[in-house]
Subunit: 443 residues, 2 copies
């Protein structure tokens, strides 16, 4: 696999580039905007994720000989365009919502400014990353809210493509999960990793007791034993007989969890293992987690539902040209006019208004006809600016990248989530928790 | 990003390895099986995909210094286990369904044989690849059947994580799609690529006519013009005025497609452009494609629904220990016993029985207690063997890898799909089209 990300691109972007280099429009300055027309799955808020990953992938967006050879050999573009791509580096500016920030329909999540040539070919990569990671983070935030103070681990790698799994673990952590089973997410993004044993561990041994004894010898009494390979009641009895009442925890991966958790808690308490914790991990989603709130459960592990966005595996964001220079050098806001997919032209600045006690009241978007960002508009005492500069003239702000970027995105998310009105925390399908309001100004 | 795939692994696999190296069970010979308990989304058949990708990723499954340093620094495993992993290479044998093959509940899609140590740590990688790719291929096959002879292009990269998008394009092609927009899928897997222009192309220019004129100058009259940026009727008129009646095609990306396609066809015919084709690309899935069967549409482009598995983004397959050596060296079939997730122990051989006129009648699974594969059982005139050797003693069969593997998987899929009973082609939710029957034998 090549480390270049340049071909993670839809062919039509290069076809357009080819034609634009030919007719001269390739050098027109442009503003592209990445936004969602609606929130996925009737959710009340969205969570922006993927920004820090995108910045790293953007650095690897270059056409090396292997990429150029493919484009040349398959006549995807003309020889002149191959020469242009040889020197390609994004030299424009990207502003956007901070990773971990909440978003609503129409929020200008990313604004990409540069020549048509350099900005148009980022469409697929930017959307791939933001659509996937934000879908996961949006679902994960709801699970994290439902779990309250109980630890919540992401364990869904096996139900997502192998590299998406790493991105999903990262996005879930930003949205409030406490750990992941995915080792690569630990290595690459600093997400805490966890995990003890599968059913195969018990089946490998001649008896369940052998398996438990060996696991405790290797990992200590503080480990978590999986007790549902054969019979749960016997499994729990064996676990405490082998480990003693200081056993760290037991894990339940099947059955009707509220019933099973209550019965296992009673059994553990009877055996004197009152400090042994119960982790549950079977087909949980935000609704199942909420339904276990009153059960004696100490920790959750979530797999399939979080890595697939709990019914909404993509955030459905789009990347649209919203302003460009005309042939006379003036700025023109542009927008698709067809009814079902209309968009709003012009460069946008966003802030979130808040009530006196800090509760968010609206997403406010200021639309400017021209190219300059109308920064003055956000100088309001009741408002919080939502955009930061991620890339300035081709230079990435390192604060948003790598493990440090993930840690600060998580912190930012947990902080701004507190601003949500109570109604936004309900799990049922409904309208967005905040209205998006627009204001037109002359730039 | 590291090219090693070894940390695309759940932590508990290495924890189990650690404990197994300590207690000696790590060297027990084992058989793991990858299978689905049910088909995703009430589908009538599943399509196996990802096998060829997995073989490549398996070759990169090695612990280099960067991976070992992470495991050491975070105390994931003991120093002894770090030393074991240093020399890790899978030396076992993997048999499995050919890529592109159909599968049903209980089909032994992959059988992995080796020591516990070498086989247990492949769980996450194998499941990630097969679960994702098979979910896409299963959805894609239904779309391909619904499209009939009309070309069907995959255009959903922007709605999938950036590397999954490549795998999705590959899986859709295996399941009958004719092309993809994704350039990396073209480069890495030989999938034909396609694409012309987005709305941004029209918006970049001072007028729609300028945009069309420029595209035709660059790509010739045979290109496809996107005509719905402003007003479709005007767009079509402009397209034919600029390109002439020899225009290759027009693309429609919005509106009620049956209505719009009929009206555009009528307009094109009136203008004399009777050979100009109509491609539609707006939010299509298998149901929308089927509903367009009687409309004057020449080609389909499918995005979100195919890359997200059309409602079932994961195939839900599992990887289970089904047989192992006991301490006395004898073979023991093993299985989890808990009611809701029970599995069937023992090594399995599968074949598909067919009626005299070649229609598939059942998935037949022969279960052997021991380690040896009961090959003789498949010598039946009415049956087709389903498993091939993918990896023999650590050596991959190159025929299943790379672009050649993709091409032969696609051919295999299109051939075996013909065996399905007619009822299997219906799009409604139902039971699997074939029953899975089991037969126990003494190995």
């Amino acid at each position: 696999m090549s480390t270049s990300t340049a071909l993670l691109t839809d062919r039509y972007e290069l076809t357009m580039l080819d034609a634009a280099l030919r007719d001269g429009t390739a050098h027109r300055r442009c503003v592209f905007e990445l936004f969602g027309r609606r929130l996925p799955g009737g959710r009340r808020f969205g969570v922006v994720a993927g920004t820090g990953r995108l910045l790293g992938l953007l650095r690897d967006f270059r056409f090396d000989e292997a990429e150029l050879a493919f484009l040349r050999d398959h006549a995807v573009v003309s020889p002149e365009t191959v020469r242009f791509l040889e020197g390609y580096r994004f030299s424009g500016t990207i502003t956007g919502y901070r990773e971990g920030e909440l978003y609503f329909p129409g929020s200008p999540i990313l604004t990409v400014e540069g020549s048509f040539a350099e900005a148009v070919i980022l469409e697929t990569l930017a959307l791939s990353v933001l659509n996937h990671d934000s879908a996961i983070a949006t679902a994960a935030a709801r699970m994290s809210i439902a779990a309250g103070d109980r630890p919540l681990a992401e364990m869904g790698s096996r139900r997502a493509a192998e590299r998406s799994a790493v991105a999903a673990a990262r996005a879930a952590y930003i949205a409030g999960f406490s750990a992941t089973s995915n080792l690569e997410a630990g290595r690459e993004w600093g997400v805490p990793t966890m995990g003890t044993a599968a059913h195969a561990w018990t089946l490998l041994h001649d008896t369940e007791e052998d398996a438990f004894r060996s696991q405790i010898a290797a990992l200590g009494t503080d480990t978590t034993l999986l007790v549902d390979t054969y019979d749960i009641r016997e499994g729990v009895a064996t676990a405490i007989r082998v480990a003693g009442t200081e056993l760290g925890g037991v894990r339940l991966d099947s059955g009707d969890l509220p019933t099973v958790a209550a019965s296992v808690r009673a059994q553990l308490d009877e055996l004197g293992a009152t400090g042994t914790k119960i982790t549950v991990t079977s087909d949980l989603d935000e609704f199942a987690i909420a339904a276990l709130a009153a059960s004696p459960v100490d920790a959750y592990g979530v797999g399939t539902s979080v890595v697939t966005g709990s019914g909404s595996p993509t955030a459905g964001m789009v990347y649209k040209l919203v302003a460009r220079q005309a042939s006379d050098g003036s700025w023109v806001p542009v927008a698709k006019a067809s009814a079902s997919k209309a968009s709003i032209g012009g460069r946008k600045t966003a802030f979130r208004t808040r009530s006196a006690n800090g509760v968010a009241t609206a997403e406010h978007v200021v639309v400017a006809d021209g190219f300059e960002q109308p920064t003055a508009a956000v100088d309001r005492p009741d408002a919080r600016a939502l955009q930061v500069v991620l890339v300035q003239d081709g230079q990435t702000d390192a604060a948003y990248e790598g493990p440090a970027g993930v840690a600060s995105a998580r912190e930012h998310h947990l902080t701004v989530r507190e601003e949500l009105p109570i109604a936004a925390l309900a799990l049922s399908k409904a309208d967005p928790a905040l209205p998006t309001t627009y204001e037109d100004i002359e730039a």
